[in-house]
């Protein structure tokens, strides 16, 4: 199937998700969610805990089945996109494999896709450059700090240059300064590769800084409450101190407050 620029990267249509449907422990996590993400766009999902933002991400990744509704990734079903490895994933825990050296961790998805050895090592060196860890390929994960491990996890998720990156609070466990560094680097990398990103976070400033659009979800069952546009252009460390950034953060904060009181 050919892909023109009007085919959305992700199209979520009327999606609901109920866990343990039909039993007494049935929980409706998401109800009637619609969301379209354009190619190259950076979209954050934010909301109080229990709003189903991680569930929505896993539905897009086809790690969970939807209860009703449909999800398309680059015009295909989510299941097909998973099999075609159209997306990369990163989690709050770096999830590196202890027994593999850093370079081998980055090369794992490439091994599964039958890249040749030469291609794999070329790609892992390239990715290590990209996340600014060029000399660490031969180290084991435990020899790296938490922030460095997370950078390796991002390098791994990008190693096969997927068009879409799905991230579940990837910087949640990092300290504030490392987190801001990583945000800058993520934006630089995804801009360079033209990657579409769907990013789950519970940090207001993080969502305002990173995103083109911020989707605010309301809880139980999760629904799209509002979408905040953040048309700030290219971001830098100075962006964090600009009035426009504070205005957007305030707008997101107010939407979240409205969600909390059930408006």
């Amino acid at each position: 199937m050919t892909l023109d620029s009007s085919t959305p990267a992700v199209k979520v249509h009327a999606v609901s998700k109920t866990f343990n449907a039909g039993s007494s422990e049935s929980v409706q996590a998401l109800a009637d969610v619609d969301l379209v993400v354009a190619p190259g766009e950076f979209v954050s999902l934010i909301g109080p805990s229990g709003c189903g933002k991680s569930t929505l991400l896993r539905l897009i990744a086809d790690l969970l089945p939807t209860t009703s509704g449909s999800i398309e990734v680059f015009g295909k079903s989510a299941a097909q996109a998973r099999i075609d490895q159209d997306y990369g994933m990163a989690f709050q825990s770096a999830g590196l494999f202890d027994w593999r050296k850093v370079a081998a961790n980055i090369e794992l998805p490439l091994e599964l896709m039958d890249y040749s050895k030469a291609e794999r090592s070329a790609r892992s060196s390239e990715m290590l450059e990209l996340v600014k860890l060029p000399d660490f390929g031969d180290h084991y994960p435990w020899q790296l700090s938490g922030g460095m491990q997370q950078r390796v996890a991002i390098a791994r998720s990008l190693s096969f240059k997927p068009r879409l990156l799905l991230m579940d609070e990837p910087f949640g466990a990092l300290d504030e300064m490392t987190r801001e560094h990583m945000q800058n680097e993520l934006l630089a990398i995804t801009a360079e590769l033209g990657t579409t990103v769907v990013f789950v976070t519970h940090s207001i400033s993080e969502s305002a800084f990173l995103s083109d659009r911020v989707v605010v979800l309301s809880p139980r069952p999760g629904q799209v409450h509002s979408i905040v546009d953040v048309p700030m252009g290219d971001r830098s460390d100075d962006t964090r101190e600009e009035p426009e950034f504070f205005e957007k953060a305030t707008e997101i904060r107010e939407a979240l407050r409205a969600v909390e009181v059930g408006l």
């Binding site: 896993r58 490895q85 494999f97 599964l112 084991y140 435990w142 020899q143």
Partner: protein
């Protein structure tokens, strides 16, 4: 002066403890009990180990220590290998088929709760007392349980993010087993090996107390003890603990060799 103290610092603390322990033992026995009736001196035990090692002078009523140690070691090691195989295979089955696993695990726990050694007379009837089989079976049953429990834990307790990651790559169950579960279980398996290595010698000797061929460490110990030849009994015990230590050392070496990724502080 400085070179003297740096030389002293190079002596491992374990060696110091050992020298003090055996020195004190030797000294106390020399002062208190010249007959060495119940507890012989270390020097007498060492003399017996050397005298009875090959047993060429024809004065021994029991098997030479070299022969007995070799035979007991053979039963212990073959039983260990069998126990490792059965434990790992069962762990793989339990991981692959969770439903079978659910019914298998309580069964394995029940086996473990049984004092295995109580089965020795029955195993002797089943497998006969003229060969190794009965004693090997005891060792196998003793060893298999810690291996099974630990390995199964390592195969199943994989971080959920790592499983989701593998599924996001479209990896099959077999690929996940090979690339994630088995490497994840390696440290768990090696920990159980460290437990099982000395355990197999204990199991072999206790099984030998209950019957089987006589040219083994177990019978050598019981026969010498019943004729109050305590130094000879102790000599056999020394050989047994030597085998146990050797196997434990091998387990540690395997660990170092099989897990190059382990941080040094985690090594023992």
């Amino acid at each position: 002066m400085n070179s003297m103290s740096s030389l002293l610092r190079k002596i491992p603390p374990g060696a110091v403890v050992g020298v003090v322990f055996f020195g004190a033992w030797e000294a106390i026995m020399r002062i208190r009990d010249s007959t060495e009736f119940l507890l012989p001196r270390p020097s007498s035990i060492a003399r017996e180990v050397i005298r009875q090692w090959s047993g060429n002078d024809g004065t021994l009523s029991t098997a030479p220590l070299k022969t007995a140690g070799w035979n007991t070691g053979y039963v212990a090691v073959t039983g260990l290998v069998l126990g490792l195989l059965v434990g790992v295979l069962l762990a793989l089955v339990v991981t692959r088929f969770r439903r079978i696993g659910g019914s298998l695990t309580p069964f394995a726990v029940a086996i473990n709760a049984t004092p295995i050694i109580a089965l020795a007379p029955i195993f002797n009837n089943w497998f006969g007392i003229t060969g190794n089989l009965s004693n090997q079976a005891i060792v196998m049953v003793v060893v298999f349980f810690p291996v099974f429990i630990n390995t199964a834990k390592g195969l199943t307790e994989v971080h959920p993010d790592q499983l989701e990651l593998m599924r996001s790559y479209g990896a099959s169950d077999f690929t996940i087993l090979r690339r994630v579960r088995i490497p994840n279980a390696t440290p768990f398996f090696l920990t159980s090996l460290r437990l099982a290595a000395p355990l197999c010698v204990i199991a072999a000797i206790v099984a030998e107390y209950f019957g089987g061929p006589q040219d083994r460490l177990g019978p050598v110990i019981t026969q010498n003890a019943s004729f109050t030849r305590y130094a000879s009994a102790w000599a056999a015990i020394v050989v047994a603990s030597g085998i146990g230590l050797g196997l434990f050392g091998l387990a540690l070496l395997t660990e170092r060799f099989a897990m190059p990724w382990k941080r040094p502080a985690q090594m023992q």
